[in-house]
Symmetry: C3
Subunit: 361 residues, 3 copies
């Protein structure tokens, strides 16, 4: 491995950052400080490696053993762990949530100069707010509107009739194909493609006939779209993501899908055409939802599960067969093909045994 410089650099960055006293952090985020609250914190680090000017957190009990020997400046944790800490603590009912907010103080988002890079290609009738930052080589086509504070990374291609809401940030190589509207503060990671043709095909004698895809895509405020994720535009109406939907990398959202607010999908999940997913759902990695189905609010789907029918009530749902050593798996999997026959044999046995039992009495 040849990359020590990397980690070093990011740690230096921490040291340079402004410091905050622990009691100041407690006040700002409504947390209870215990121990010497006058220490100054200049960055964040993992519990096991944090220095005396860095903040660490303990949320997952899996890592509780790291607490005893931590040298962190302060640890964010639940009350139950406070006494076990050798260093000052900030007590939080949800340490991970508290950490998320605290860490933001120490994050250094690359500053982006407002203005349009000389190499960008912008249509005469595109509207770009003066406070927006348009990176090298961006293409912005006719009828598109780029809002205030927007940052477009290098080589973003914004097709015709798109709108990008205030403070949205697009990484490099993001493509909005056509009729795509992004809400405020939307974050899109590199390589995502939003608004490509839905996969609509009719069949005649000669072969496939493409169905025109005349809709668009509407993405609400505060959504996050992962790297190389694809979201197709609707056939007639729009594909819709409501506010605060979070998509990980390499997710596929087909045409006319609707996803409710605060729903999150993990990496490589796929949702087929016209499926309607409720709000506050969590879809696991590599899971799939078939077309035209409905999934209720508050549903959790575990990883690599295939949703083959609509789900009407909240809860946790799964499919799939369990992990096994390959030889055992082969034996059991072969029996899967005999499962219906096995069930019939059990029923037959039950009849025979009932008969034998009757006779006896």
């Amino acid at each position: 491995m040849h990359a020590p410089g990397n980690t070093l650099r990011s740690q230096e960055r921490m040291e340079q950052s402004t410091g905050y006293r622990i009691d100041e952090l407690a006040r700002r985020f409504g947390l209870e400080a215990r121990g010497d609250a006058t220490r100054v914190i200049r960055g964040v680090a993992p519990l096991a490696h944090a220095q005396c000017d860095q903040l660490a957190f303990l949320a997952n009990p899996r890592y509780a053993s790291d607490l005893a020997c931590t040298r962190a400046g302060v640890v964010v944790l639940r009350a139950e762990h406070a006494d076990a800490s050798p260093v000052p603590v900030l007590v939080a009912s949800d340490p991970y949530l508290a950490y998320a907010r605290l860490a933001a103080l120490f994050e250094h988002a690359p500053a982006s100069e407002p203005g349009i890079h000389a190499s960008a290609v912008v249509a005469a009738d595109a509207q770009i707010d003066a406070s927006a930052s348009v990176g090298p080589g961006c293409v912005i086509e006719s009828g598109s509107v780029i809002g205030p504070g927007v940052v477009l990374g290098a080589y973003c291609v914004i097709g015709p009739d798109c709108t990008v809401g205030a403070q949205a940030r697009l990484g490099a190589h993001v493509t909005l194909v056509t009729r795509v509207a992004l809400g405020k503060r939307v974050l899109v990671h590199p390589g995502a493609v939003i608004g490509a043709d839905g996969f609509g095909l009719a069949r005649d004698q000669e072969g496939w006939v493409k169905v025109p895809q005349l809709g668009g895509v509407r993405i609400g405020d505060d959504c996050e779209i992962g790297a190389n994720t694809t979201i197709d535009r609707g056939a007639l109406e729009d594909t819709v993501l409501e506010d605060d939907v979070r998509l990980d990398n390499q997710i596929q959202i087909a045409h006319n899908v609707q996803i409710g607010a605060h729903t999150a999908l993990a990496g490589c999940a796929a949702v087929a055409g016209s499926a309607k997913i409720g709000s506050n759902c969590q879809i696991g990695g590599s899971a799939g939802v078939l077309g035209h189905l409905e999934v209720a609010d508050g549903v959790t789907i575990t990883a690599m599960t295939l949703v083959t029918h609509s789900i009407r009530s909240s809860g946790v749902y799964s499919s799939g067969a369990p992990l096994e050593e390959n030889h055992a798996w082969r034996r059991n999997a072969a029996r899967m093909r005999q499962l219906d026959a096995m069930a019939r044999r059990i029923a037959a046995l039950e009849k025979q045994v009932e008969a034998l039992t009757k006779e006896r009495s």
Copy 2:
């Protein structure tokens, strides 16, 4: 949600578009018109929301309930639904196919000026037809040929020794790595990568040894390649897609795969090296086909199925365990690991019961 302007714009576009009388549409597409056939149609819309100058269709019975209260100018439907329509109809044996052709009249593909954008980087010996449109920043390397009427979106990178057939359209950020040939009218969506190295590795004591990938990729006429889909070039011979193959988004086609004409793969499907898939197959979303297998013509594979052996006859094939509420699933999945033992216990019971039954008589 902050994107009304978007939908509005696309509807305005409809209104501006040229109109067609219903009887004219009937004549042009060989359909039977019923009701007032003099109405003028200027666009298409969903059955539930169509206006009096818009065409709608009813194919999926799931949406039949929308017919009674539609205000569409005309509805394309099967004869059996005609009497139930409150508005004029166009009767078609396959309404979805008829709609696909009708809707094309109202589609407004972005016009592309012939010519090479000033920012494109073109090799001295590349041949680009005068009627082709080469977008901003496209790179066209040595020995490549761009045919008549081709449209290359922004930042397409066409590597050495590639050919792009007449009227092909490539979206933004498409990469043809090397030795890739696209047929006529091929449509490639943004971010697709065609012709990258196949994943060929040999092993020695020190580690992996890369196997040179010396083949290419040949894609027939009228194929469609989805956004962020990847198709590797062959190790020695070419990876081949025959005419009218349709690939959705984020599909992975490994080196030396062959796919027959008119076969369609849905999103996130993956085909491993040297697999040979017949013509007129349909592969569901997130499905997989293992390497070196053969799949016959006319095979349908359901979503998230893994094809682990060759399929010799047409039909529908599936794998996987069904969706359940998680607690029930856990109980049943645990038994999967006991399935072979269960089968043996059933056989033992059958012997004992047979013995008991014999004795009794």
Copy 3:
């Protein structure tokens, strides 16, 4: 199909390439030559189609039938097949490995001129070795270091604080987002995104709160990263791939994952956050590994398997239900939901039968 020119071109290229006598090849690679070793070889081709100046190989017995009628100049094969060859042979204990090395002689990697393309956008403080080749439109941001002999394809975007090791080659449209370090000779195929934000979310009353992703990505020497693959940067520590890790296309590696040396993942595999995979593992296509798990060294995971618990010892592991014709599959899958009940019925029968058997005696 309209792409004959393609294959022709690559064959011409073979003919033009320098020739090597068979005995020279034998000496150079420590192989035993049998038959006329004075023939000159100018390229490689499949056993079935090779010409008299081309080298072919036979590794997979599946293709042994092609040997009898091959017209290749020489065939690389195991001793057991030598006598069956109508043409000269090179005997190797591992013909595929020997072929990998031999074929490299005939590969024509596109030569890349050292220097920075005029259209590239390079930060004042970026360090680019004079022997590196920086393609059209590349963007190299502040604090990044590009090593000797590196080749960056068109439109690579190298974000802040990245390092690219000597002789690394990046295809077109590769994005290194921030704090990414690539080792020596790393090969990255087009569209890969390395170092994007990990998918870290905390939840409060209003909705999701983004967890800052402050780590980086460290990739060892000789790694290969497939087209459109995504590797997220760590939340606090780095995501790490050790030396000689090989990733196929469209793989998703989440934040804080660690992958040991010489491990290979096939297309569309996904590894969730903080999972730790050992060295010399092979993960099949479309397989998944859940978060925070550990997988031992030397583990093989078959295609589309979901790893739901840590694996402590080397071996082959699988999950999933087998492929069946759809009607049979439906019958059996329905029984999956009754599996626990079936097991209880078997236990009940065993009790009853035991009772009946006792009585009888």
